[in-house]
């Protein structure tokens, strides 16, 4: 038997298909298709959790995603664990482990329940007032305590071994909700020829037809019709039916995000199956058929386990075959709960009383109740409930005075709230309908339409007709107009109209009872009244003060009650107080689904250069430079980083080194106005640069600060080969393209990124020419024919090359550019020449040290977006005669020409062994009390093997006038004395490069 409360013959599950699962350490048996909630109820378990703030025992309230109470920790194994799962949504599977949350040591005995006794201390907004003093205690004491005591589940602490998938889709029509409205709309759209996605958060189609068994559609039982219709839709080529799929976010331009739970209901899913699949759907038209959510009654102690929504009790009975109790009381303010009572009574469950707030229920209900022997107490109210871990009786007040009726379950209905969440997310503004006292969708802001229950339609045939019309119209709007003759006859549904909102009798302003409005956030009617008394007159303030309608629940059952109570307290009408905005997600979404494929190696693209395999073979240690993987240094046996870098630095200057410089950005600038364009983009002049020559260029932003730098080669009159910094490559191209299109559109010039076209092998050092000479064809490498800062085209190892004679080391050197696929072979050939001569492979660290020895700056390290060329000692690179270039006016700003600006200088520590920390602050007087006057900071600092001492560069206020001065770098443990120097530490005259 799968639980004592399972009723033979009731429900749609197969008794033979048993599933065993664990809840709080005990093994239970359920049936395939059960939710955790239905399986526990079948086993007589109502106590499923403890409330957020007061730790009150809680049972299940609903049977769907509106559930605020029964939040569970669900796991397959220790890594596959998820907290805060709704027991009403999670399907049971063999071997599932479920655990209740927010209780210690056990669900039945929870120490935190003392909060319930202390509840006067925990009134709404208590943490804004009670714990404000002393200030430091908030962070150290109060907040950790509150966060520990309150709260939901515990986040998993192991990496998630599951994988998640993603899919973009474009359809003519997206239908959200596969109840009678959604199915009808999807059918009409699909039969008109439109491409359709129909999604529903439930395991199958049907919506309210799961529990409303009185419905007949086209001669069939409503639920069967739903299954047949879903099957028919699934079989159509132009339709995709997605169950267990929640449309959780409605974004701009009809972009709707759906999360499909693919394996959470399977006991042994195939490893290739993603756990969840994120569908990002762009639809021409969105049909919202999200139905309505039943509201609970607000009365004293209305949160006792065993008190639940009438529709939920009906779903448990009619779909899962589970009786929620043996003596079930009913408390209602509308007609729909009667159907639940009648179904229960017909299934043999005792229904001692229906308590109805109204004087008279709808037609025929009283006589049916009488036939079934159910006592209907009109103009009455439930004013209390007893039973701590499960309701034991309800106290009724009415025409017959005050009576206490023993019950073991109580089902309630205050009416139905149209589920306008997605409509609201689409930026639609809901409109108050005074006649039915509901907020309904107003004008559609996007291409959407609401049909059925979420649109306030209460009649079944009316719903079907409206849905068919909407589906047809959506298809026509997408240009799909196949002839359609579709008529669906439906009858017999419950009436979803009527009801009440706000607190019921006995829970008024004078009451001190706990009458829960928002179960998930433990908000009572009293809290909302308190918020109003404290001066919160806007519903937005009330929400934030009380937390009503917040968190993962988003007020599905509580919003309207909360609003009604606030409105009553304020003496205003509900629409005057307004409704808060619904925010995505409709129900919680896992990070896994949002991130989907973008984890591990796919989290961020790792860009590899042509030399990656070769460098790996050479033992390179790589570093991340932006998205690039670059060889950092090449340690040999027994070497640490310091030793390897020292060796590489010395080898390059004594012999030669080979370096992969491919990541530098490259832009081909082509057209008759190419030089004119570069004149405008760079500070220096380009007209006179002869083809075959290179020049170092600096570009500024409009504000006069350095933006990027690099060597530019003129390949021909109308063709330049521009290089940029590695990090600057994409933005420099954008910057140039921006100016070209918006400021200089009259120029005949085009830009193309060639960063990845070329593999760049730098060969630097006194032996550089000896190394490459045997490999090069058609280029005279002699100093006279090819001096420093020149470029030639020819061949290397038979591959075409643009051979640059440039140097970022101060040594004579070349940068061999070859089409990238040839890079590895050419590099191997170069290495074959280089290695016997004693040359080394070097990485970015050595590159940094060597350039610092020569005082070459790195934009972004030695500059920070507030440094002008003058500040950097590069004033010589600004052409004096040019009438215009980007940044020319910025450079004239008073602040940029004023004295005392931070300028780039060299620093030598008085103790040559001491290496400064990059980023360290610099002061003139180390004895000044704090806060000290900071003159600047260290931008680059290294041990220089070639100088035999430490070297550093720094931005120092008025630095160029402080040459020879002694300054101080205060550190936590000591103060370091430094001397201000020029920036060139090695080969000051710069003679080596021409060697």
């Amino acid at each position: 038997m799968s639980g004592a409360n399972r009723i033979a013959g009731a429900g749609r599950l197969t008794p033979a298909r048993k599933v065993r699962f664990m809840f709080d350490g005990e093994i239970y048996t359920g049936l395939e298709g059960d939710t955790l909630a239905s399986a526990l109820l079948a086993n007589g378990v109502h106590l499923m959790g403890r409330s957020f703030k007061y730790h009150r025992p809680r049972g299940v309230l609903g049977a769907g995603s509106e559930e605020p109470n029964a939040l569970m920790d669900i796991s397959r194994d220790s890594a596959r664990r998820q907290p805060n799962v709704r027991a009403t949504v999670q399907e049971v599977f063999e071997g599932m482990r479920a655990g209740s949350q927010n209780r210690w040591p056990s669900l039945a005995f929870d120490v935190g329940a003392v909060n319930d006794m202390l509840s006067p201390m925990f009134a709404a907004g208590f943490y804004y007032k009670t714990f404000m003093w002393p200030k430091v205690a908030w962070q150290k004491l109060y907040e950790p305590f509150i966060r520990g005591a309150a709260g939901l589940g515990v986040a998993p602490d192991e990496p998630d071994p599951d994988h998640y998938s993603s899919r973009y889709e474009h359809v003519d029509v997206l239908v959200v909700g596969a109840g009678v409205a959604g199915l009808s709309a999807a059918l009409a759209a699909a039969m008109s020829g439109a491409s359709v996605i129909l999604c529903d958060e439930q395991a199958g189609a049907g919506g309210a037809l799961r529990y409303d068994t009185d419905v007949t559609i086209d001669g069939d039982n409503g639920y069967d019709w739903a299954q047949n219709t879903a099957a028919k839709l699934t079989a159509m080529d132009n339709v995709r039916v997605l169950t267990r799929t929640t449309a959780f976010g409605y974004y701009a331009q009809n972009f709707v995000a759906l999360c499909e739970r693919v394996t959470d209901h399977l006991s042994d899913p195939h490893p290739d199956l993603p756990r969840e699949r994120l569908w990002q759907v762009r639809a021409q038209k969105v049909v919202l058929a999200t139905g309505a959510i039943e509201r609970h009654m607000v009365f004293a102690d209305n949160d006792r386990p065993g008190i639940m929504l009438a529709s939920a009790a009906r779903a448990y009975l009619n779909h899962y075959g589970v009786a929620v109790g043996s003596k079930v009381g009913v408390y209602t303010a509308n007609d729909s709960a009667y159907a639940a009572a009648f179904d229960l009574a017909r299934a043999g469950v005792s229904v001692p009383a229906i308590v109805d707030t109204r004087d008279a229920p709808g037609e025929g209900l009283l006589s049916t109740a009488a036939d079934l022997g159910i006592d209907v107490m009109t103009a009455s109210a439930v004013v209390g409930a007893k039973g701590r871990r499960r309701i034991s009786s309800m106290t009724v007040e009415g025409g017959r005075g005050k009576t206490q009726i023993p019950v073991d379950a109580l089902i309630t209905s205050a009416g139905w709230t149209p589920a306008v969440h997605l409509y609201s997310q689409s930026r639609g503004k809901v409109v108050w309908d005074p006649e039915t006292e509901r907020f309904l969708p107003g004008d559609n802001v996007q291409a959407s339409v609401s049909v059925g229950g979420c649109n306030g339609v209460t009649g079944l045939q009316e719903t079907v007709d409206e849905a068919i019309a909407a589906g047809r119209s959506a298809a026509l709007g997408a240009g799909k107009s196949k002839r359609l003759s579709l008529r669906i006859e439906a009858a017999g549904a419950i009436d979803w109209s009527g009801g009440m909102s706000g607190s019921a009798r006995g829970a008024g302003a004078d009451s001190t009872a706990k009458t829960f409005v928002d179960f998930q956030n433990d908000v009572t009617a009293k809290d909302i009244r308190l918020a109003v008394r404290e001066g919160m007159h806007s519903i937005e303030h009330v929400k934030r003060f009380t937390t009503n309608g917040m968190a993962s629940d988003q007020g599905k059952t509580s919003n309207i009650h909360g609003l009604a109570i606030a409105a009553e307290s304020l003496g205003r009408q509900m629409p005057e107080v307004g409704l808060t905005t619904f925010r995505p997600p409709y129900t919680p979404v896992t990070y896994g689904a949002i991130v989907n494929h973008s984890r591990g190696k796919l989290f961020d693209p790792a860009r590899k250069t042509f030399s990656h395999a070769w460098s790996t073979k050479q033992g390179a240690v790589f570093e991340d430079v932006g998205n690039w993987k670059r060889a950092w240094y090449f340690p040999r046996a027994g070497e640490d980083m310091h030793a390897a870098v020292s060796r590489e630095c010395k080898t390059v200057r004594e012999t030669a080194g080979v370096f992969d410089a491919s990541t530098l950005g490259k832009i081909e600038v082509v057209g008759p106005d190419a030089a004119k364009f570069l004149d405008l983009i760079y500070t220096n002049g380009w007209q006179k640069l002869a083809p075959g020559r290179c020049k170092y260029g600096i570009m500024l932003r409009e504000d006069g600060f350095i933006y990027d730098d690099g060597v530019v080669a003129r390949m021909a009159e109308d063709r330049f080969h521009v290089t940029t910094t590695t990090g600057g490559a994409p933005r420099v191209l954008n910057h140039m393209e921006d100016y070209l299109q918006t400021e200089f559109p009259d120029l005949d010039v085009w830009l193309t990124s060639t960063t990845e076209q070329w593999a760049v092998i730098a060969v630097q050092g006194p032996k550089a020419r000896d190394i490459i000479a045997p490999l090069v064809e058609g280029i005279d490498l002699s100093n006279d024919a090819m001096p420093h800062m020149s470029v030639r085209e020819g061949k290397i190892c038979g591959a075409p090359t643009r051979l640059f004679r440039v140097s970022f080391t101060g040594e004579p050197g070349y940068e061999i550019n070859v089409p990238a696929h040839y890079g590895q072979a050419v590099l191997e050939a170069v290495w074959k020449q280089a290695e016997p001569l004693g040359a080394c492979a070097y990485g970015t660290e050595t590159m940094h040290v060597l350039r610092a020895e020569k005082g070459f700056i790195i934009v972004g390290q030695d500059t920070d977006g507030t440094v002008t060329p003058h500040d950097a000692g590069l004033g010589w690179a600004i052409a004096k005669s040019k009438p215009d270039f980007v940044g020319i006016r910025g450079l004239k700003r008073p602040d940029l020409v004023a004295g005392g600006r931070k300028q780039l200088v060299g620093l030598k520590t008085k103790n040559p062994e001491t290496v400064l920390e990059e980023g360290a602050q610099i002061v003139a007087d180390p004895n000044q009390p704090t806060p000290m006057t900071m003159l600047g900071h260290v931008t680059s600092s290294y041990w220089s093997p070639n100088c035999g001492r430490s070297i550093a560069m720094a931005l120092v206020a008025g630095g160029q006038d402080r040459m020879g001065d002694t300054l101080y770098v205060p550190m936590p443990d000591r103060t370091i004395e430094v001397e201000v120097t020029g920036m060139v530490f090695f080969d000051e005259k710069g003679e080596r490069v021409n060697g």
Partner: protein
């Protein structure tokens, strides 16, 4: 005597597949980025033997089918020659103003083919790739996951995914992961 350098393409060895889709590296092709205004389009088309298309998201093929010109922007085309022919030389003879840049080695490509090809790309490409919206011959510079790609639909079930060479591991890794999902 120095050996002539061999080409090594980054996708060498990158192949994956399921019953419904295969991912294979495209062979070396020469490629040209062309930037030009309207008056140069006809002479460039003649010189290259393939029409530079003027409609967005369209491509055109040469008579032998080996050369494709892809519209990437109002003044920008990508020409791909699967025979690896020199594309710079014919353009050099065109007098009308234009810019031609050899990018044969900047891009590489994967071929995604089979019934599940469209679904594989839809794992990371937000564009509408249905045959209706993206018919055979359609092309677009777009996104796949986190990187820029140029997509061309070679036939109903075959796409060419052009991308910069350093993104090879990412593009292949993304597609190999995407095709694990059996839903097409």
């Amino acid at each position: 005597m120095v050996e002539t350098a061999a080409m090594i393409l980054p996708h060498e060895g990158n192949a994956a597949g399921t019953g419904v889709v295969t991912i294979t590296p495209a062979a070396f092709a020469s490629r040209l980025s062309i930037r030009a205004r309207a008056e140069a389009v006809a002479p460039l088309s003649r010189a290259l033997g393939v029409k530079l298309p003027d409609a967005p998201k369209t491509s055109a093929k040469s008579r032998n089918g080996k050369r494709t010109a892809l519209w990437l922007g109002p003044d920008e085309w990508l020409v791909i020659d699967e025979a690896g022919a020199d594309l710079m030389a014919p353009c050099a003879k065109v007098k009308q103003l234009h810019a031609a840049v050899d990018i044969s080695h900047r891009n590489v490509a994967l071929i995604v083919s089979g019934k599940g090809a469209e679904a594989a790309l839809k794992a990371g490409c937000p564009q509408n790739l249905s045959l209706e919206a993206f018919p055979v011959g359609a092309c677009s510079r777009t996104m796949l996951g986190k990187v820029e790609v140029v997509l061309v639909r070679d036939d109903a079930e075959t796409f060419r995914v052009e991308h910069w060479r350093s993104f090879s591991d990412y593009v292949f890794g993304f597609l190999a992961e995407a095709i694990r999902d059996p839903v097409i």
